[in-house]
Symmetry: C2
Subunit: 234 residues, 2 copies
DNA sequence: GTCTATAGTCGGATAGAC
DNA sequence: GTCTATCCGACTATAGAC
């Protein structure tokens, strides 16, 4: 397409690339916080200490910058999950995995996802960005979904499938995958009502650790049952 | 405060009240979908088949309409949870409740919340509205939180407290409450990636029923453990 | 109570100097 | 590659007729 898809600053730190990168980082924060329309080009250029004209210059338009931010998010997520990916691939190469292996991998993955979402406020903005796209998907959502999310869903549900002895392509596994994800994501998505419930202004390290314990315990509990024998009234 | 807090159309269907109500309903959809700044007064008045000037006339400003929408959401939620509230109050009047009672009430409440969030696309817009406020709370968030959300948190965590034999004001109970809520909320918050994972364009009734089963089964499973004996590596 | 017309502001993008 | 100046469109809110 265009060199506009090249995002991160190169080894040869040309002046243009650093402006370009600063704009993307500004977009990451501002689009996440205020949405596409809520973010003005002036906010973006101010935050990046760049000129307004740099946006149409580098990205064609404000929308172009928005898409470039999405691609950047995919790259960042890929970096974050590289460890999980490596472990998973190694595991799968040695044939079908056991339930215990799957459970351990689950725990690792929950830890990894939670780390991305629960700890620190830094990723908050870009998670918001993704959630906005969930609510009203534009072509930008394709970049995120096809670039990363699809893969996370796939390995998460393959692990669940092993744990609950079901097929990974079954609706049940996919829906349970989604439910378990929700337990994690809510801690970043609904942070404000959590803080008010806890009656604090910020999560402490003790809170974070307790959240990890809870997430892993709940996941273990959920995966120790099969839906049919869960004692539901038919 | 002001007559601006009166929201729903009265018995005497004055012309003004119906315009006023139409604007609130338009705001419910549009603010939810496009955010405060992303929604223009033109969109609002068009959608409500009203004149642009009706907004400053009835609500003082666009912001005033936004706040009125928030109050309307609280009213709607109160109506939705009236049944749960009645059952809870009756239960609590007859002294401390048993674990089985708490578990049944939990199931009822999950059903009730899920019904609000999972079924139909109608509530989707206003859930989005709340989530926007979670990400960047304004004075509008107080209306929602103090008006309704606080109460849901309170009864939800009191039930959890009974089930897991812990104190309802403990951080553990509050955090587990949050996690369980996340399992429900994710189905509306992250609808798009769910649909893509399931490879459908719309949830069927079978999906909805399966979601209920999963939510209740998972909740039962989660509440059958206490965090300390969950087999975590210390 | 509802409408048209318009004032006043701010947004994104462009032109062209350097 | 970066800057200033500026155009043009879109926005909210008001004024005043009906």
């Amino acid at each position: 397409m265009q060199p506009t898809t090249k995002i991160q600053p190169d080894s040869h730190d040309k002046r243009g690339d650093s402006t370009r990168f600063a704009l993307i980082e500004a977009g990451l924060d501002l689009f996440g916080e205020f949405g596409f329309k809520g973010t003005t080009t002036r906010m973006l250029s101010d935050s990046a200490s760049a000129n307004i004209s740099a946006i149409p210059y580098y990205f064609g338009s404000k929308k172009g910058l928005y898409l470039a931010v999405m691609e950047y998010i995919v790259e960042r997520m890929q970096e974050h999950f590289v460890e999980v990916r490596v472990v998973m691939e190694k595991m799968q190469r040695s044939g079908p995995i056991s339930r215990d292996q799957a459970l351990d991998a689950m725990k690792m993955m929950i830890q990894s996802i939670a780390q991305l979402f629960v700890e620190s406020d830094e990723p908050k903005a870009w998670v918001q960005l993704i959630m906005r796209e969930q609510a009203r998907p534009t072509d930008a959502f394709d970049i995120i979904y096809d670039g990363q999310m699809k893969y996370v869903q796939k390995i998460f549900s393959s692990l669940i499938a092993v744990c609950v002895y079901a097929h990974q392509d079954s609706d049940e596994v996919k829906l349970r995958c989604h439910a378990l994800m929700g337990q994690i994501l809510i801690f970043i998505l609904s942070r404000e009502s959590l803080l008010r419930h806890l009656n604090v202004r910020k999560l402490t390290d003790e809170h974070i650790n307790l959240i990890y314990k809870i997430l892993i315990s709940h996941a273990e509990a959920c995966l120790s049952i099969t839906i049919s024998d869960a004692g539901l009234k038919k």
